[in-house]
Amino acid sequence: MDAQFAISGRDFVISVTDKGVARSIVKMKHNEDKTWQLSSHTLMSVSGEAGDTANFSEYIQGNVRLYSMRNSQDLSPSELANFIRGELAAALRSRSPSQVNLLVAGYDKGKDEAALYWIDYLSAMAKVPFAAHGYCGYFLYSVMDREYTPEITLEEAKALIKKCFEVLKTRFIVDFANYTIKVVDRNGTHEIRQDEL
Protein backbone atom coordinates (compact mmCIF):
# COMPACT_ATOMS: atom_id res chain seq x y z
CA MET A 1 0.00 0.00 0.00
CA ASP A 2 2.83 2.36 -0.76
CA ALA A 3 2.64 5.34 -3.04
CA GLN A 4 5.63 5.33 -5.33
CA PHE A 5 5.89 7.18 -8.62
CA ALA A 6 8.19 9.39 -10.66
CA ILE A 7 8.20 11.70 -13.67
CA SER A 8 11.18 12.34 -15.89
CA GLY A 9 11.81 15.36 -18.11
CA ARG A 10 14.74 15.95 -20.44
CA ASP A 11 17.11 17.00 -17.70
CA PHE A 12 15.44 16.10 -14.43
CA VAL A 13 13.51 13.37 -12.66
CA ILE A 14 11.11 13.91 -9.79
CA SER A 15 10.63 10.94 -7.52
CA VAL A 16 7.75 10.70 -5.08
CA THR A 17 7.21 8.21 -2.28
CA ASP A 18 4.87 8.25 0.69
CA LYS A 19 6.36 8.34 4.15
CA GLY A 20 4.13 5.80 5.82
CA VAL A 21 5.09 2.43 7.25
CA ALA A 22 2.21 0.17 8.20
CA ARG A 23 1.98 -3.31 9.69
CA SER A 24 -1.37 -5.05 9.64
CA ILE A 25 -3.83 -2.34 10.61
CA VAL A 26 -1.32 -0.27 12.51
CA LYS A 27 0.56 2.79 11.25
CA MET A 28 4.07 2.25 12.58
CA LYS A 29 5.70 5.36 11.21
CA HIS A 30 4.83 8.43 9.19
CA ASN A 31 8.26 9.91 8.41
CA GLU A 32 10.11 7.13 6.59
CA ASP A 33 12.26 8.15 3.62
CA LYS A 34 11.89 5.32 1.10
CA THR A 35 14.53 6.63 -1.29
CA TRP A 36 18.16 5.55 -1.31
CA GLN A 37 20.98 7.71 -2.55
CA LEU A 38 23.26 5.51 -4.69
CA SER A 39 25.67 8.16 -5.97
CA SER A 40 25.66 11.92 -6.28
CA HIS A 41 23.37 11.83 -9.33
CA THR A 42 21.30 8.69 -8.83
CA LEU A 43 18.67 7.65 -6.39
CA MET A 44 16.34 4.71 -6.03
CA SER A 45 12.88 4.57 -4.49
CA VAL A 46 11.85 1.25 -3.01
CA SER A 47 8.61 -0.39 -1.95
CA GLY A 48 7.58 -3.94 -1.15
CA GLU A 49 8.02 -6.47 1.62
CA ALA A 50 9.09 -4.67 4.80
CA GLY A 51 12.41 -6.38 5.55
CA ASP A 52 13.34 -6.99 1.94
CA THR A 53 13.30 -3.33 0.99
CA ALA A 54 15.98 -2.31 3.49
CA ASN A 55 18.02 -5.47 3.01
CA PHE A 56 18.11 -5.32 -0.77
CA SER A 57 18.63 -1.55 -0.88
CA GLU A 58 21.51 -1.64 1.56
CA TYR A 59 23.13 -4.38 -0.47
CA ILE A 60 22.78 -2.39 -3.68
CA GLN A 61 23.91 0.86 -2.08
CA GLY A 62 26.96 -0.82 -0.60
CA ASN A 63 27.97 -2.41 -3.86
CA VAL A 64 27.43 0.73 -5.90
CA ARG A 65 29.57 2.73 -3.49
CA LEU A 66 32.23 0.03 -3.57
CA TYR A 67 32.29 0.32 -7.37
CA SER A 68 32.72 4.09 -7.16
CA MET A 69 35.52 3.74 -4.66
CA ARG A 70 37.37 1.02 -6.58
CA ASN A 71 37.12 2.65 -9.95
CA SER A 72 37.02 6.32 -8.97
CA GLN A 73 34.05 6.85 -11.22
CA ASP A 74 30.32 6.44 -10.76
CA LEU A 75 28.09 4.05 -12.63
CA SER A 76 25.78 5.77 -15.11
CA PRO A 77 22.03 5.44 -14.50
CA SER A 78 21.68 2.80 -17.22
CA GLU A 79 24.60 0.74 -15.88
CA LEU A 80 23.17 1.08 -12.42
CA ALA A 81 19.69 -0.02 -13.44
CA ASN A 82 21.10 -3.03 -15.28
CA PHE A 83 23.19 -3.97 -12.29
CA ILE A 84 20.21 -3.74 -9.93
CA ARG A 85 18.00 -5.71 -12.28
CA GLY A 86 20.68 -8.40 -12.53
CA GLU A 87 21.04 -8.70 -8.78
CA LEU A 88 17.28 -8.85 -8.32
CA ALA A 89 16.99 -11.51 -11.01
CA ALA A 90 19.71 -13.59 -9.35
CA ALA A 91 17.96 -13.25 -5.98
CA LEU A 92 14.63 -14.17 -7.52
CA ARG A 93 15.86 -17.65 -8.40
CA SER A 94 17.69 -18.18 -5.12
CA ARG A 95 16.47 -19.39 -1.74
CA SER A 96 16.08 -15.80 -0.64
CA PRO A 97 14.28 -13.71 -3.23
CA SER A 98 13.64 -10.05 -2.43
CA GLN A 99 10.16 -8.75 -2.98
CA VAL A 100 10.93 -5.16 -3.89
CA ASN A 101 9.65 -2.74 -6.49
CA LEU A 102 12.06 -0.07 -7.60
CA LEU A 103 12.25 3.18 -9.49
CA VAL A 104 15.78 4.23 -10.39
CA ALA A 105 16.14 7.93 -11.14
CA GLY A 106 19.38 9.41 -12.35
CA TYR A 107 21.10 12.09 -14.31
CA ASP A 108 23.65 10.85 -16.84
CA LYS A 109 26.45 13.42 -16.84
CA GLY A 110 28.13 11.88 -19.88
CA LYS A 111 25.03 11.96 -22.05
CA ASP A 112 23.63 15.10 -20.40
CA GLU A 113 20.19 13.68 -19.91
CA ALA A 114 17.97 12.37 -17.17
CA ALA A 115 16.85 8.74 -17.01
CA LEU A 116 14.15 6.85 -15.16
CA TYR A 117 13.96 3.07 -14.90
CA TRP A 118 11.05 1.02 -13.67
CA ILE A 119 11.94 -2.36 -12.12
CA ASP A 120 9.44 -4.69 -10.45
CA TYR A 121 9.97 -7.57 -8.03
CA LEU A 122 10.11 -10.09 -10.90
CA SER A 123 13.04 -8.05 -12.27
CA ALA A 124 11.27 -6.80 -15.32
CA MET A 125 12.86 -3.52 -16.31
CA ALA A 126 11.89 -0.66 -18.58
CA LYS A 127 13.24 2.82 -19.27
CA VAL A 128 10.21 5.04 -19.00
CA PRO A 129 9.20 8.73 -19.08
CA PHE A 130 6.98 8.29 -16.02
CA ALA A 131 6.24 5.38 -13.74
CA ALA A 132 4.31 4.13 -10.75
CA HIS A 133 4.23 0.96 -8.67
CA GLY A 134 1.37 -0.78 -6.95
CA TYR A 135 -2.15 0.48 -6.44
CA CYS A 136 -1.36 4.10 -7.06
CA GLY A 137 -0.51 3.15 -10.63
CA TYR A 138 -4.19 2.37 -11.23
CA PHE A 139 -5.03 5.99 -10.47
CA LEU A 140 -1.98 7.87 -11.67
CA TYR A 141 -1.13 6.40 -15.07
CA SER A 142 -4.27 7.93 -16.55
CA VAL A 143 -3.39 11.36 -15.17
CA MET A 144 0.24 11.18 -16.26
CA ASP A 145 -0.74 9.81 -19.69
CA ARG A 146 -3.00 12.77 -20.27
CA GLU A 147 -0.66 15.50 -19.00
CA TYR A 148 2.82 14.28 -19.92
CA THR A 149 4.89 15.60 -22.81
CA PRO A 150 8.56 14.81 -23.38
CA GLU A 151 9.28 18.55 -23.19
CA ILE A 152 7.76 18.85 -19.74
CA THR A 153 9.54 21.41 -17.54
CA LEU A 154 10.30 21.02 -13.86
CA GLU A 155 7.52 23.45 -12.92
CA GLU A 156 4.98 21.60 -15.08
CA ALA A 157 6.09 18.32 -13.57
CA LYS A 158 5.60 19.72 -10.09
CA ALA A 159 2.10 20.82 -11.05
CA LEU A 160 1.43 17.35 -12.43
CA ILE A 161 2.55 15.76 -9.19
CA LYS A 162 0.20 18.06 -7.32
CA LYS A 163 -2.60 16.78 -9.56
CA CYS A 164 -1.57 13.21 -8.77
CA PHE A 165 -1.85 13.95 -5.07
CA GLU A 166 -5.35 15.33 -5.66
CA VAL A 167 -6.42 12.18 -7.48
CA LEU A 168 -5.07 9.91 -4.76
CA LYS A 169 -6.82 12.00 -2.16
CA THR A 170 -10.13 11.89 -4.01
CA ARG A 171 -10.23 8.32 -5.27
CA PHE A 172 -7.85 6.10 -3.31
CA ILE A 173 -9.07 4.45 -0.12
CA VAL A 174 -5.69 4.90 1.53
CA ASP A 175 -4.87 8.33 2.82
CA PHE A 176 -1.21 9.21 2.48
CA ALA A 177 -0.37 11.96 4.89
CA ASN A 178 3.17 12.81 3.87
CA TYR A 179 5.35 12.40 0.80
CA THR A 180 9.08 12.45 0.12
CA ILE A 181 9.64 14.42 -3.08
CA LYS A 182 13.11 14.43 -4.56
CA VAL A 183 14.51 15.99 -7.71
CA VAL A 184 17.52 14.60 -9.58
CA ASP A 185 19.15 16.91 -12.08
CA ARG A 186 22.50 18.18 -13.35
CA ASN A 187 23.36 19.48 -9.87
CA GLY A 188 22.69 16.23 -8.07
CA THR A 189 19.70 15.41 -5.91
CA HIS A 190 17.68 17.57 -3.56
CA GLU A 191 14.48 17.21 -1.63
CA ILE A 192 11.54 19.58 -1.93
CA ARG A 193 8.80 20.02 0.60
CA GLN A 194 5.21 19.31 -0.30
CA ASP A 195 4.23 22.95 0.13
CA GLU A 196 6.96 23.97 -2.34
CA LEU A 197 5.25 22.22 -5.24
Binding site: E79, F83, G86
Partner: protein, 264 residues
Protein backbone atom coordinates in the same frame (compact mmCIF):
# COMPACT_ATOMS: atom_id res chain seq x y z
CA UNK B 1 74.01 -16.57 -5.62
CA UNK B 2 71.20 -16.37 -8.04
CA UNK B 3 70.95 -20.09 -8.44
CA UNK B 4 69.55 -20.68 -4.96
CA UNK B 5 66.66 -18.30 -5.39
CA UNK B 6 65.87 -18.16 -9.04
CA UNK B 7 63.77 -21.29 -9.31
CA UNK B 8 60.98 -19.84 -7.22
CA UNK B 9 58.72 -17.09 -8.44
CA UNK B 10 57.53 -16.35 -4.99
CA UNK B 11 60.75 -16.01 -3.04
CA UNK B 12 62.87 -12.91 -2.79
CA UNK B 13 66.62 -13.21 -3.22
CA UNK B 14 68.78 -11.61 -0.48
CA UNK B 15 69.13 -8.55 -2.73
CA UNK B 16 65.37 -8.29 -2.74
CA UNK B 17 64.76 -9.46 -6.29
CA UNK B 18 62.39 -11.93 -7.86
CA UNK B 19 64.52 -13.67 -10.42
CA UNK B 20 61.79 -15.54 -12.23
CA UNK B 21 59.94 -12.31 -12.81
CA UNK B 22 63.07 -10.65 -14.08
CA UNK B 23 63.75 -13.57 -16.40
CA UNK B 24 60.23 -13.26 -17.76
CA UNK B 25 60.85 -9.62 -18.51
CA UNK B 26 64.11 -10.57 -20.17
CA UNK B 27 62.25 -13.04 -22.37
CA UNK B 28 59.97 -10.24 -23.46
CA UNK B 29 62.80 -7.96 -24.42
CA UNK B 30 63.74 -10.56 -27.04
CA UNK B 31 60.22 -10.83 -28.38
CA UNK B 32 58.88 -9.09 -31.46
CA UNK B 33 58.44 -5.36 -31.04
CA UNK B 34 55.00 -3.93 -30.36
CA UNK B 35 54.42 -0.21 -30.71
CA UNK B 36 51.45 1.86 -29.65
CA UNK B 37 50.87 5.50 -30.47
CA UNK B 38 48.01 7.61 -29.19
CA UNK B 39 46.60 10.41 -31.29
CA UNK B 40 43.76 12.81 -30.65
CA UNK B 41 41.34 10.79 -32.74
CA UNK B 42 42.56 7.24 -32.35
CA UNK B 43 45.31 4.80 -31.48
CA UNK B 44 47.71 2.89 -33.70
CA UNK B 45 49.11 -0.50 -32.69
CA UNK B 46 51.79 -2.22 -34.69
CA UNK B 47 53.55 -5.50 -33.99
CA UNK B 48 56.48 -7.37 -35.44
CA UNK B 49 56.14 -11.04 -36.18
CA UNK B 50 59.47 -12.72 -35.67
CA UNK B 51 61.04 -15.57 -37.59
CA UNK B 52 58.56 -16.51 -40.23
CA UNK B 53 59.49 -19.26 -42.59
CA UNK B 54 58.13 -19.37 -46.07
CA UNK B 55 57.11 -22.96 -45.43
CA UNK B 56 54.85 -21.82 -42.62
CA UNK B 57 51.23 -21.61 -43.58
CA UNK B 58 50.20 -18.05 -42.98
CA UNK B 59 47.43 -18.50 -40.52
CA UNK B 60 44.29 -16.44 -40.94
CA UNK B 61 44.43 -15.34 -37.33
CA UNK B 62 46.68 -12.64 -36.12
CA UNK B 63 49.51 -13.80 -33.99
CA UNK B 64 50.22 -10.67 -32.02
CA UNK B 65 47.22 -8.38 -32.15
CA UNK B 66 43.95 -9.44 -30.57
CA UNK B 67 40.58 -7.83 -30.03
CA UNK B 68 39.79 -8.08 -26.33
CA UNK B 69 36.44 -6.37 -26.39
CA UNK B 70 34.51 -4.03 -28.67
CA UNK B 71 36.50 -1.14 -27.21
CA UNK B 72 39.90 -2.69 -26.48
CA UNK B 73 42.56 -4.12 -28.75
CA UNK B 74 45.85 -5.53 -27.47
CA UNK B 75 49.31 -6.18 -28.84
CA UNK B 76 51.30 -9.00 -27.28
CA UNK B 77 55.03 -9.46 -26.72
CA UNK B 78 56.36 -12.65 -25.21
CA UNK B 79 55.14 -16.22 -25.00
CA UNK B 80 52.22 -16.63 -27.36
CA UNK B 81 50.81 -19.59 -25.44
CA UNK B 82 50.82 -17.65 -22.17
CA UNK B 83 49.24 -14.73 -23.95
CA UNK B 84 46.37 -16.88 -25.17
CA UNK B 85 45.38 -17.68 -21.60
CA UNK B 86 45.39 -14.02 -20.62
CA UNK B 87 43.57 -12.88 -23.77
CA UNK B 88 40.91 -15.51 -23.18
CA UNK B 89 40.52 -14.48 -19.57
CA UNK B 90 40.28 -10.80 -20.49
CA UNK B 91 37.60 -11.51 -23.06
CA UNK B 92 35.59 -13.38 -20.48
CA UNK B 93 36.00 -10.58 -17.94
CA UNK B 94 34.89 -8.02 -20.53
CA UNK B 95 31.82 -10.05 -21.44
CA UNK B 96 30.97 -10.57 -17.80
CA UNK B 97 31.04 -6.82 -17.29
CA UNK B 98 28.81 -6.34 -20.32
CA UNK B 99 26.35 -8.85 -18.90
CA UNK B 100 26.32 -7.14 -15.53
CA UNK B 101 26.14 -3.49 -16.56
CA UNK B 102 25.08 -3.59 -20.22
CA UNK B 103 27.94 -1.30 -21.16
CA UNK B 104 31.51 -1.95 -22.34
CA UNK B 105 34.10 -2.31 -19.59
CA UNK B 106 36.23 0.77 -18.89
CA UNK B 107 39.69 0.18 -20.30
CA UNK B 108 41.61 0.55 -17.07
CA UNK B 109 39.36 -1.95 -15.30
CA UNK B 110 40.11 -4.57 -17.93
CA UNK B 111 43.83 -3.88 -17.78
CA UNK B 112 43.80 -3.94 -13.99
CA UNK B 113 42.02 -7.27 -13.98
CA UNK B 114 44.57 -8.71 -16.39
CA UNK B 115 47.41 -7.41 -14.25
CA UNK B 116 45.89 -8.78 -11.05
CA UNK B 117 45.99 -12.20 -12.68
CA UNK B 118 49.61 -11.75 -13.69
CA UNK B 119 50.54 -10.45 -10.26
CA UNK B 120 48.98 -13.52 -8.66
CA UNK B 121 51.58 -15.72 -10.29
CA UNK B 122 54.42 -13.75 -8.72
CA UNK B 123 53.08 -14.47 -5.26
CA UNK B 124 51.16 -17.73 -5.15
CA UNK B 125 51.98 -21.13 -6.34
CA UNK B 126 55.57 -21.71 -7.33
CA UNK B 127 54.67 -21.86 -10.99
CA UNK B 128 56.32 -19.51 -13.41
CA UNK B 129 54.94 -16.06 -14.12
CA UNK B 130 53.23 -15.24 -17.40
CA UNK B 131 55.99 -14.37 -19.86
CA UNK B 132 53.88 -11.74 -21.54
CA UNK B 133 53.72 -7.97 -21.81
CA UNK B 134 50.72 -6.23 -23.33
CA UNK B 135 49.97 -2.96 -25.01
CA UNK B 136 46.26 -2.34 -24.60
CA UNK B 137 44.65 0.32 -26.73
CA UNK B 138 41.16 1.20 -25.68
CA UNK B 139 38.40 3.76 -25.57
CA UNK B 140 35.72 4.41 -22.99
CA UNK B 141 33.19 7.19 -22.54
CA UNK B 142 34.70 8.49 -19.31
CA UNK B 143 38.36 8.81 -20.26
CA UNK B 144 38.44 8.61 -24.06
CA UNK B 145 41.37 6.97 -25.82
CA UNK B 146 43.88 5.23 -23.58
CA UNK B 147 47.04 3.22 -24.09
CA UNK B 148 48.30 0.90 -21.36
CA UNK B 149 51.43 -1.16 -21.03
CA UNK B 150 51.74 -4.12 -18.69
CA UNK B 151 54.59 -6.40 -17.60
CA UNK B 152 54.85 -9.93 -16.10
CA UNK B 153 55.10 -8.53 -12.57
CA UNK B 154 51.61 -7.12 -12.92
CA UNK B 155 52.50 -3.45 -13.17
CA UNK B 156 50.66 -1.33 -15.64
CA UNK B 157 51.04 2.24 -16.78
CA UNK B 158 49.34 4.63 -19.17
CA UNK B 159 51.22 6.11 -22.13
CA UNK B 160 50.86 8.46 -25.08
CA UNK B 161 53.31 6.41 -27.08
CA UNK B 162 55.24 3.38 -26.01
CA UNK B 163 56.90 0.18 -27.08
CA UNK B 164 57.54 -3.30 -25.73
CA UNK B 165 59.71 -6.12 -27.02
CA UNK B 166 63.03 -6.13 -28.80
CA UNK B 167 64.80 -2.78 -29.06
CA UNK B 168 62.20 -1.10 -26.92
CA UNK B 169 64.76 1.34 -25.52
CA UNK B 170 65.63 2.50 -28.98
CA UNK B 171 62.03 2.81 -29.99
CA UNK B 172 61.14 4.58 -26.79
CA UNK B 173 63.72 7.30 -27.35
CA UNK B 174 62.60 7.86 -30.95
CA UNK B 175 59.01 8.09 -29.80
CA UNK B 176 60.01 10.59 -27.14
CA UNK B 177 61.83 12.69 -29.69
CA UNK B 178 59.25 12.63 -32.42
CA UNK B 179 55.96 12.63 -30.55
CA UNK B 180 54.17 15.94 -30.91
CA UNK B 181 52.88 16.71 -27.49
CA UNK B 182 50.48 19.39 -26.46
CA UNK B 183 51.99 22.18 -24.40
CA UNK B 184 48.81 22.65 -22.48
CA UNK B 185 48.44 21.20 -19.03
CA UNK B 186 46.43 18.07 -19.15
CA UNK B 187 45.80 16.26 -15.96
CA UNK B 188 43.10 15.58 -13.44
CA UNK B 189 41.03 12.46 -13.18
CA UNK B 190 38.52 13.16 -15.91
CA UNK B 191 40.38 14.47 -18.93
CA UNK B 192 38.38 13.66 -22.01
CA UNK B 193 40.77 14.83 -24.67
CA UNK B 194 44.32 13.63 -24.58
CA UNK B 195 46.84 16.42 -24.70
CA UNK B 196 48.08 15.41 -28.07
CA UNK B 197 48.46 17.23 -31.35
CA UNK B 198 49.00 14.02 -33.25
CA UNK B 199 46.49 13.05 -35.91
CA UNK B 200 45.95 9.43 -36.93
CA UNK B 201 48.14 10.08 -39.99
CA UNK B 202 50.93 11.39 -37.77
CA UNK B 203 50.59 8.37 -35.52
CA UNK B 204 50.76 5.91 -38.42
CA UNK B 205 53.73 7.75 -39.83
CA UNK B 206 55.55 7.76 -36.50
CA UNK B 207 54.81 4.07 -36.05
CA UNK B 208 56.31 3.23 -39.45
CA UNK B 209 59.32 5.40 -38.72
CA UNK B 210 59.99 3.66 -35.41
CA UNK B 211 59.38 0.20 -36.87
CA UNK B 212 61.91 0.83 -39.62
CA UNK B 213 64.55 1.74 -37.07
CA UNK B 214 63.90 -1.02 -34.57
CA UNK B 215 63.25 -4.04 -36.73
CA UNK B 216 66.35 -5.73 -37.96
CA UNK B 217 65.42 -6.28 -41.56
CA UNK B 218 66.34 -4.94 -44.96
CA UNK B 219 62.82 -4.03 -45.92
CA UNK B 220 59.62 -3.79 -43.95
CA UNK B 221 56.88 -5.94 -45.36
CA UNK B 222 53.41 -7.07 -44.45
CA UNK B 223 54.68 -10.60 -43.86
CA UNK B 224 56.45 -9.55 -40.70
CA UNK B 225 54.04 -6.91 -39.48
CA UNK B 226 50.64 -6.55 -37.98
CA UNK B 227 48.72 -3.30 -37.72
CA UNK B 228 45.56 -2.31 -35.95
CA UNK B 229 43.81 0.97 -35.26
CA UNK B 230 41.16 1.99 -32.78
CA UNK B 231 39.07 4.98 -33.78
CA UNK B 232 35.61 6.37 -33.15
CA UNK B 233 32.91 5.96 -35.76
CA UNK B 234 29.74 7.92 -34.96
CA UNK B 235 30.50 7.84 -31.26
CA UNK B 236 31.27 4.11 -31.09
CA UNK B 237 34.72 2.55 -30.83
CA UNK B 238 35.84 0.86 -34.01
CA UNK B 239 38.70 -1.62 -34.14
CA UNK B 240 40.33 -2.22 -37.47
CA UNK B 241 42.91 -4.96 -37.90
CA UNK B 242 44.75 -4.44 -41.16
CA UNK B 243 44.92 -7.06 -43.87
CA UNK B 244 48.31 -7.66 -45.43
CA UNK B 245 47.43 -5.61 -48.50
CA UNK B 246 46.37 -2.74 -46.28
CA UNK B 247 49.68 -2.96 -44.42
CA UNK B 248 51.57 -2.80 -47.69
CA UNK B 249 49.55 0.26 -48.57
CA UNK B 250 50.48 1.94 -45.29
CA UNK B 251 54.14 1.09 -45.77
CA UNK B 252 53.99 2.56 -49.25
CA UNK B 253 52.31 5.74 -48.09
CA UNK B 254 54.97 6.40 -45.52
CA UNK B 255 57.89 5.12 -47.60
CA UNK B 256 59.69 8.42 -47.15
CA UNK B 257 60.19 7.93 -43.40
CA UNK B 258 61.12 4.28 -43.69
CA UNK B 259 64.84 3.80 -44.07
CA UNK B 260 66.74 0.55 -43.97
CA UNK B 261 67.65 -0.16 -40.37
CA UNK B 262 71.23 0.37 -39.34
CA UNK B 263 73.08 -2.72 -38.42
CA UNK B 264 72.86 -2.93 -34.70
Amino acid sequence: MARRYDSRTTIFSPEGRLYQVEYAMEAISHAGTVIGVLSKDGIVLAAERQATSNLLEQSVDNEKIYEMNENVVAGVAGHAADANILINQSRIVAQRYLLKYDSPIPVEQLVRNLCDLKQGYTQHGGLRPFGVAFLCAGWDSALGFQLYQSDPAGNYSSWKATCIGENNNNAQSILKQEYKDDDKEESGPNVKSVGSQMTMDDALKLTCQVLSKTIDTAKLSSEKLEFATLTLKSGKPCIHVYTSSEIDEVLKTYESVIKPADNQ
